[in-house]
């Protein structure tokens, strides 16, 4: 609030330029609104709204790189219907999203509750907890790739050579299911900090007097968690869940960096498959069709998270946003 005081004390002398048509124009509100919205709306319309429409159009053409396509109707989608790799990418994406989100929110909530205690070096711990979220995903994914190395995996070393729990080194990325789980673990690792810090902010808005009242009423720890913490956390949980589901569903970087969709196209997500078909495979139309197929899922997931969880926001009367 120092700045406020400054403005209050400092005498700002507004030198009014003589009223020319230019100054009049700049005080004409509709013009000013137009001017202020022009850069952002210009960028968003040209590079976001238009490409969204263009993507829909491309998905109905047979465009390849370097060759403008012709309208082919729903042919791309019909081909995808009979494409086992596409269907596997759909089920992979759904599985990946559901499991990774569940993991992130369970562990993230737990971490948030732990950080909500009075602990020494709290600010420092909170700061380093966010690191996995700050560091470029591809770079930490490369670290995970190295951790999942078939010959030199540190995890295998610990389990085989130190603990002797297993005889052979794990082949994390060599077969479909271990590879999928490995990707999910890396995704959960990257997502925990965001969930934890967001929910921690939510936890800190809950008034301690509620817990004191519950204590006087003889509530147990679990009851306090279930009846006070969870309902009051719901609004912020809904927003965090929506964003998390959305970005997990459309994830590209982790999978591209760690498995590139392999082994034998069994770990492709829809985004990586779209990339593979469109850019290295040059089939822009087909890639666009895969990307467009993500849209209904994204809309459904967003609505489900936001209204499914966020509904409670107005049930409890006073919203805390």
């Amino acid at each position: 609030m120092d700045a406020t005081v400054d403005v209050g004390l400092q005498r700002l002398n507004f030198v009014r330029a003589p009223d020319t048509w230019v100054t009049k124009l700049f005080d004409y509100k509709p013009f000013l609104v137009f001017l202020c919205l022009l850069p952002s709306m210009g960028l968003l319309v040209v590079f976001l709204t238009y490409p969204l429409g263009l993507g829909l159009w491309l998905s109905m053409t047979d465009t390849t790189i370097g060759q403008p396509g012709h309208f082919v109707g729903l042919e791309n989608f019909q081909e995808l219907m009979d494409d086992p790799v596409f269907w596997m990418s759909v089920t992979n994406t759904i599985f990946y999203t559901v499991v990774a989100t569940a993991g992130k929110f369970t562990l993230g909530l737990w971490l948030a509750l732990l950080l909500n205690h009075h602990i020494p070096f709290k600010a420092f711990i909170r700061a380093i907890v966010l690191l996995p979220w700050i560091v470029p995903t591809v770079l930490s994914a490369i670290a995970w790739w190295w951790i999942y190395s078939p010959q030199f995996s540190i995890v295998s070393y610990v389990f085989v050579d130190l603990l002797h729990w297993s005889d052979t080194y794990f082949n994390f990325l060599g077969s479909p299911w271990p590879a999928r789980w490995s990707l999910i673990v890396a995704n959960i690792w990257r997502g925990i900090p965001f969930v934890a810090i967001t929910l921690l902010a939510g936890l800190q808005t809950i008034s301690p007097s509620l817990y004191e009242a519950a204590l006087l009423d003889g509530a147990s720890g679990w009851q306090k968690f279930y009846r006070i913490t969870v309902p009051l956390l719901m609004p912020i949980l809904a927003v965090a869940l929506t964003l998390s589901v959305l970005f997990t569903f459309s994830d590209f970087q982790l999978v591209y960096a760690i498995t590139r969709g392999g082994p034998f196209n069994t770990t492709h997500l829809m985004a990586t498959l779209a990339f593979q078909r469109a850019i290295p495979g040059a089939q822009l139309g087909e890639g666009a069709a895969i990307a467009v197929s993500m849209i209904p899922f994204l809309i459904a997931a967003t609505l489900l998270c936001f209204f499914g969880v966020g509904r409670r926001k107005w049930q409890q009367g006073e919203a805390n946003d």
Binding site: A3, D6, V7, L12, F14, F26, K29, L32, V33, C36, L37, P39, S40, L43, L44, F47, L48, L52, G55, L58, L111, L113, L114, H118, I119, V129, L130, I134, V135, P136, T137, L139, I142, A143, W144, W146, S149, F152, Y157, W189, F194, A201, L203, Y211, E212, G221, K224, F225, T229, I236, V239, A240, A257, A271, F275, L284, G287, A288, A291, L298
Partner: protein
């Protein structure tokens, strides 16, 4: 979470039953510190492993029997030397930095104006613009990159860093605008009304009152935009082809991963160096970061 309040109440009373305090001490150790330590180990281990590998000579890196893999016995700068002098890594760093700075300025500039218009000019339909920007934030880059690639090609910007400077705002502008709207809301409108009465024009108000007060918000928006563009991957992968114009994340994955034998030392050194700029910025502004992150989500 079980007993924060219990302790808050119990702490000042020194004559609490001894059993209770012992009990809560052990309980706290098991329920709070132990899981917290596990979380920290798991969350930080990949970075430790990255760092350790980056400084290991090849002999140690692939021989776990003779050398314990958990630390470096004879640290070497060889991997970093290779990276800096035998690859285009410095060039990639400069390119990434330039793209990140340029797209950050472009995005923060457009976002400030947009947020000011939506939050402060109070025109009819401002809420709809706010909602549209929020929705724009929900459009993931992975459904946009294919049509954007054709668009970039038509503009003749393919394989040109300007393509990235222009496309990064698609996710930076919604985020920054959202953050700044929240920030402008916290500045009392009365200050602007006073200035209006004193005869200031709208642009004078923005420049001399609102912006100076919004500096913390601008810093938050700036560092977020910078980190997000530094981390961006899919557009940089799709729109840039020549080796010397690639950004760090893309270059490490496409240029350093060659053939069947991976140079893990250089890969880890590259990842480490590529993370450092973001980590430094983060460490300077960590409070802005945490508060605006939670603030933006709460809005």
């Amino acid at each position: 979470m079980t007993d924060t309040t219990v302790e808050a109440i119990a702490a000042p009373t020194t004559d609490a039953p001894e059993r209770l305090s012992w009990d809560s001490g052990v309980k706290r150790m098991v329920l709070v510190y132990l899981p917290l330590a596990l979380f920290l180990i798991v969350l930080l281990f990949p970075f430790y492993w990255m760092t350790v590998t980056a400084f290991k000579p090849d002999a140690e890196m692939y021989d776990y029997k003779t050398y314990s893999p958990f630390w470096v016995h004879s640290p070497t700068l060889h991997n970093i030397y290779v990276l800096l002098f035998e690859t285009n890594y410095p060039q990639w760093l400069i390119t990434t930095m330039g793209i990140a700075v340029a797209s950050t300025f472009l995005s923060v500039f457009s976002s400030v104006l947009a947020a000011y218009a939506i939050e402060r000019l109070r025109f009819k339909g401002a809420q709809h613009f706010g909602l549209a920007i929020y929705l724009a934030y929900l459009v993931p880059p992975s459904i946009l990159f294919i049509p954007l690639a054709t668009l970039i090609f038509q503009f003749g910007l393919f394989d040109n860093p300007i393509a990235l400077i222009l496309t990064y705002p698609t996710f930076l502008v919604p985020f920054c605008t959202w953050l700044l709207i929240g920030y402008f809301k916290s500045i009392p409108y009365e200050l602007e009304e006073c200035a209006l009465i004193d005869g200031a024009s709208r642009l004078q108000i923005l420049r001399r009152i609102t912006l100076p007060l919004a500096v913390p918000g601008l810093i938050s928006a700036g560092i977020f935009a910078f980190t997000l563009s530094w981390n961006e991957f899919i557009y940089a992968l799709a729109f840039i082809q020549s080796t010397d114009k690639k950004t760090v994340p893309v270059a490490i994955l496409t240029e350093l991963v060659t053939g069947d034998v991976y140079q893990w030392g250089s890969l880890m050194a590259g990842s480490l160096l590529g993370s450092v700029p973001v980590a430094i910025i983060y460490s300077f502004f960590v409070e802005y970061y945490v508060s605006s992150m939670t603030g933006a989500v709460k809005e």
